[in-house]
């Protein structure tokens, strides 16, 4: 079954997202910020990355940028969880190499629908 | 998720909704019964630590696998003559429901008897026995196998004793 790397500094968001994903049959690797995610990414091969944008230590945009530098992550779908839907955020994300975004707040159903878009 | 279709007769045992099972015990020649679903366990008598300034029928408290459980001497509670405890003395540990809490209390009886099924029809109201057996805690009488069973309502057995608003201080 597909594996998703989820990154969010909010424990409650992580819990909700992971519970939803696991319930739908996905395997989940959890990280609390960009630095944590990067280190977990190196040892694993997830089918998609789902990351919050505003996090301490390394934000989501930088994380995506860094992940794209890793050979096995060049084409991995990476989605940003963002409360902003401004053009500015989209541009930043695109430039960093993000695949798409999911706007907060979202409910579990929306999350699963979006994940389906990127996992074959 | 689809709601599960429930078997109306209950799960497992083929139990009729109108029949209750009672564990019976002997006390001064009479046979009493308590709802078997409330029986937590049956223990042989071990010593109990006295609680100062409590009524006679409160034997004390016992250690039940780490929990402090009060022990009531039923003979005393029913104002019957007390007898000495021996190694055949038995304590029936019951779960008593009070409002929203559950209490575990042990009762010293002469001996454990049997388990009987009693239907609603078999249960008859009881007359006032007088003495210590108040109609408050007698559910009713039942005749089973030519025996008369006095069925107790244990939730009301300890009403006044375990009133949390009163403290155990009597003279």
């Amino acid at each position: 079954m597909a594996t998703i790397l989820t990154v969010d500094d909010s424990a409650s968001m992580r819990q909700m997202v992971n519970f939803t994903l696991k319930g739908a049959g996905y395997d989940v690797i959890e990280a609390v910020d960009g630095v944590d995610a990067l280190s977990k990414a190196k040892g694993n091969n997830p089918d998609a990355v789902l990351t919050d944008v505003n996090m301490p230590n390394m934000d989501g945009i930088t994380l995506i940028q860094e992940l794209r530098k890793l050979p096995s992550y060049r084409h991995t779908p990476m989605l940003m969880l963002t409360t902003e839907s401004s053009g500015d955020m989209k541009t930043k994300g695109r430039t960093a190499g993000a695949t798409g975004w999911l706007v907060k707040p979202f409910n579990p159903e929306q999350l699963l629908a979006t994940i389906k878009k990127v996992i074959a | 998720m689809n709601p599960e279709v429930r078997d109306e007769s209950g799960i497992g045992l083929d139990v009729d909704a109108n029949v209750n099972q009672f564990l019976t015990f002997m006390l001064a020649g009479e046979e009493y019964g308590v709802d078997i679903l409330r029986v937590q366990e049956i223990k042989g008598w071990e010593s109990a630590t006295e609680i100062p300034n409590t009524p006679d029928y409160i034997q004390g408290v016992m250690n039940l696998r780490g929990t402090i459980v009060p022990i009531v001497d039923l003979r005393s509670r029913f104002e019957l003559e007390r007898i000495d405890y021996s190694n055949t003395t038995v304590v029936i540990v019951l779960k008593i429901l009070k409002e929203d809490s559950e209490k575990t209390i042990g009762f010293v009886v002469d001996a454990v008897s049997d388990v009987y099924n009693v239907t609603e029809e078999q249960l008859k109201p009881s007359p006032d026995f007088g003495g210590g057996v108040s109609t408050e805690f007698v559910k009713g009488l039942a005749t089973v196998d030519e025996k008369m069973l006095i069925l107790l309502d244990i939730d009301h057995l300890i009403d006044a004793d375990i009133d949390i608003n009163q403290s155990a201080m009597t003279h």
Binding site: S10, S12, M13, Q15, M16, F19, G23, D52, N54, P56, R68, R74, H75, P77, T83, S85, S86, G87, K90, R94, G97, A98, G100, W101, V103, K104, P105, N107, P108, E109, Q110, A113, T114, K117, V118, A120 | M1, S47, A48, T49, E50, I51, P52, N53, G60, V61, M62, N63, G66, T67, I68, V69, P70, K103, I105, I164, Q166, S167, A168, M169
Partner: protein, 704 residues
């Protein structure tokens, strides 16, 4: 499948409250004129998290409020807005407001709407001083547009019966840029999505494919012309490509009609990303109100979960492992019992003792949290209170890392607050008074915590005016607590402030001094098994010292014997134990006995009499006196024998029985039997009742 996300609410509230604390402590340290960048970021992030979480979990009023707050903070951090001190105070008030809103959301109670609105308006006002109001209106129109399009789609999805009749032919030209794959997007997936909207046919254009030897597998050279037969609206089709709009050439036209009016241009669009098939009513789940608001409405901070460092858990797992090994070793002995192996058995038992002790210590550790959690509220409190009273006070915290039991910490919170307020209100003087007294204008308040002999000690030290002996004495005499000419040491006078209804504040301020405080503080501390005392020097200051046991569940006890019964006296209550000598006893009317111990006369409490149990001997000479204290009262307990001192686990009597006068609980001794733990203050009450009864009946007898 609908997922119930209310199970995550607890964690959300916990982390939100923590976030608020971060905001508060950063704001308190913030220099409005040149704010620290990292601080502003931390404050922003905390607000942002709360906004995001509250939105996801359906607490919309929190989201709306936090949004304005977050917007203001965002402007500060992007240098679009210069903060002033008033605004910092406004932000602090917002934190308070949010705290209330979150508590209300958690407990299902109501919040002060007027106050929320008022602070919300103030925040908006602060924002509008700059000209950036676009963000807000944008959000509003976005939300409007979102709602509109969603209702449209909802309507569209419903018309399934009209599929063929309303289906239109759409011609889509999709030419991704070379690097499309590097964004992780895949045309195939997008086409799959299109297929969900209707019948799709595609024609690929391979004209851009380079010769094989120049072919880079990571680039996209293909483009497509697609024909989609669907009743879905153009926006829906556009949506499929929303993530790649800037990475491709895209045109979506209605087939058979080349009119420009039907061409939907996708370039430079500010449209909101719309999630498919969303029922408007389901978008944001509404949090359910909890029914037992009563239980939590006491605004208590008590929580039922605890965060534990995973290393502590790992250590426990190891210890349990060792325990299991020891246990199997011992059970082996049981099976192959051999008198010659007694030594090994004894070794095994020692090992067991070590294992259990280690396990116990480490499990206790889990409930231990640093006292900083409690101390953290004080910078704010001191800041606000000193401002309010016009005093200058510096708060110094030390020993914040000192750990204590979580429940003890939660319960010591209020007493600590009261003592701190007391020091600020009555202890530390106004700046001019201090200067006149030759003291620095700014008063110092020290909060200190440390471990000492199995207890935690908390000190509240102020360099204020100290306790006023004359005022206290006068009040005590007025209240009848003390006789006019009684000789009292300074310490005894100071202890008087803990008496019920005592307050010497000339004007009862709303801060403290209503006279309900100190005795409640003392009682609360006593309930936790601790003690509080005060030392003071007029003109120099006061020190309040609280001593608490490290945990509520275990106490250090002294076992005593009366007749055949064993009882336990908490060590913390025992002052000393001594052999009685009849010369020091004095009897008063009835059977009240007093024992002279140095300068004090202590009532003798005969346990055998209070408990109506047999004892070895009723002659005082034959037994021992254990001098114990509770609530400032000393008594001498007459017992037959002193047994061992040991740690006992406190078991409740109330769980299955009820509260017993004179007992605070029970415990299970090594031999499996139950022993009662004595409650000294309750015993004192019992004793007094009996003594009064005996005295009055004796007097009646005399009179008769």
């Amino acid at each position: 499948m609908t997922i119930d996300i209310s199970q995550f609410h607890g964690v959300f509230f916990e982390e939100s409250f923590e976030g608020l604390e971060v905001m508060e402590s950063e704001l308190l340290e913030l220099d409005a004129s040149s704010p620290d960048v990292e601080s502003i970021n931390n404050i922003f992030r905390a607000a942002h998290s709360i906004k995001g979480g509250s939105g996801s979990f359906g607490f919309n009023d929190v989201t709306n409020f936090t949004h304005v707050l977050e917007t203001l903070l965002d402007e500060v951090r992007s240098d679009k807005h210069k903060l002033n001190q008033d605004e910092v105070n406004l932000l602090l008030s917002s934190v308070d407001c949010l705290r209330e809103m979150l508590t209300a959301a958690r407990d299902g109670t109501d919040v002060d709407e007027a106050q929320v609105k008022s602070i919300h308006d103030e925040l908006e006002c602060a924002l509008s001083n700059e000209c950036v109001t676009e963000t807000e209106t944008e959000t509003e129109t976005e939300t409007e547009a979102k709602t509109k399009t969603e209702t449209e789609e909802h309507a569209v999805v419903k018309n399934e019966s009209e599929v063929l009749a309303a289906a239109l032919e759409w011609h889509i030209h999709f030419a991704p840029h070379l690097h499309l794959f590097q964004t992780g997007n895949d045309p195939l997936r997008m086409f799959r999505e299109l297929e969900e909207l209707g019948a799709l046919t595609s024609t690929a254009n391979i004209s851009k494919l380079p010769p094989f030897n120049k072919y880079d597998a990571e680039e996209c050279y293909l483009s497509w012309d697609l024909v989609l037969l669907t009743e879905a609206k153009a926006e829906k089709i556009k949506e499929v490509f929303e993530w790649v709009e800037d990475d491709c050439e895209l045109s979506i036209e209605q087939g058979n009609q080349q009119e420009t009016s039907n061409v939907v241009n996708v370039i430079a669009d500010n449209a909101t990303p719309i999630i498919e098939d969303v029922d408007v009513n389901k978008v944001v789940p509404v949090a359910e109100k909890k029914k037992d608001a009563d239980k939590k409405a006491g605004a208590s901070n008590e929580t039922t979960s605890i965060r534990v460092n995973i290393s502590k858990v790992d250590a426990l797992i190891n210890m349990v492992g060792e325990l299991v090994i020891t246990q199997s070793m011992l059970s082996q002995f049981g099976e192959e019992f051999d008198m010659n192996n007694i030594e090994k058995l004894s070794e095994g038992l020692k090992q067991l003792e070590r294992n259990t002790r280690e396990l116990q210590e480490n499990v206790m550790q889990i409930r231990m949290l640093p006292i900083s959690f409690s101390f953290n509220r004080f910078p704010r409190l001191v800041h606000d209170l000193s401002n309010k009273l016009g005093k200058k006070i510096e708060l110094k915290l030390s020993g914040e890392a000192t750990e204590l039991d979580k429940t003890v910490m939660e319960k010591i919170g209020d007493p600590l607050v009261h003592l701190v307020r007391n020091s600020i209100d009555h202890g530390i003087e106004m700046p001019d008074e201090r200067l006149a007294a030759g003291k620095p204008e700014t008063g110092t308040l020290n909060l200190n915590a440390y471990h000492e002999g199995g207890n935690i000690v908390i000190e509240i030290v102020d360099d204020g005016a100290g306790l006023n002996r004359e005022r206290i004495l006068k009040k005590a005499i007025d209240r009848g607590l003390v006789k006019e000419n009684e000789e009292l040491s300074d310490d005894k006078v100071n202890e008087l402030i803990f008496s019920a209804g005592f307050s010497t504040a000339e004007q009862v301020s709303d801060v403290s001094g209503r006279g309900v405080g100190m005795d409640v503080v003392k009682r609360n501390i006593h309930d936790l098994g601790g003690v509080v005392e005060v030392k003071s020097e007029t003109g120099k200051g006061s020190t309040f010292t609280i001593r608490l046991p490290l945990t509520l569940a275990i106490l250090d006890g002294q076992l005593i014997r009366v007749g055949t019964q064993t009882y336990i006296i908490p060590l913390i209550s025992i002052i000393e134990s001594l052999q009685t000598s009849i010369e020091n006893t004095k009897s008063i009317v009835g059977e009240v006995e007093l024992y002279r111990l140095r300068d004090d006369y202590i009532p003798v409490v005969r346990l055998h009499s209070i408990f109506n149990i047999p004892c070895d001997s009723t002659k005082l000479n034959d037994g021992l006196l254990v001098v114990a204290e509770a609530e400032g009262q000393k008594i001498g307990l007459f017992v037959d024998d002193l047994l061992a001192q040991q740690q006992v686990v406190i078991k409740s009597l109330e769980t299955n029985y009820k509260k017993v006068e004179g007992m605070s609980g029970a415990t299970i001794l090594g031999d499996g039997t139950v022993a009662m733990i004595l409650d000294i203050s309750s015993l004192i009450r019992l004793y007094r009742e009996q003594a009064e009864y005996k005295t009055s009946s004796a007097m009646n007898n005399q009179a008769a």
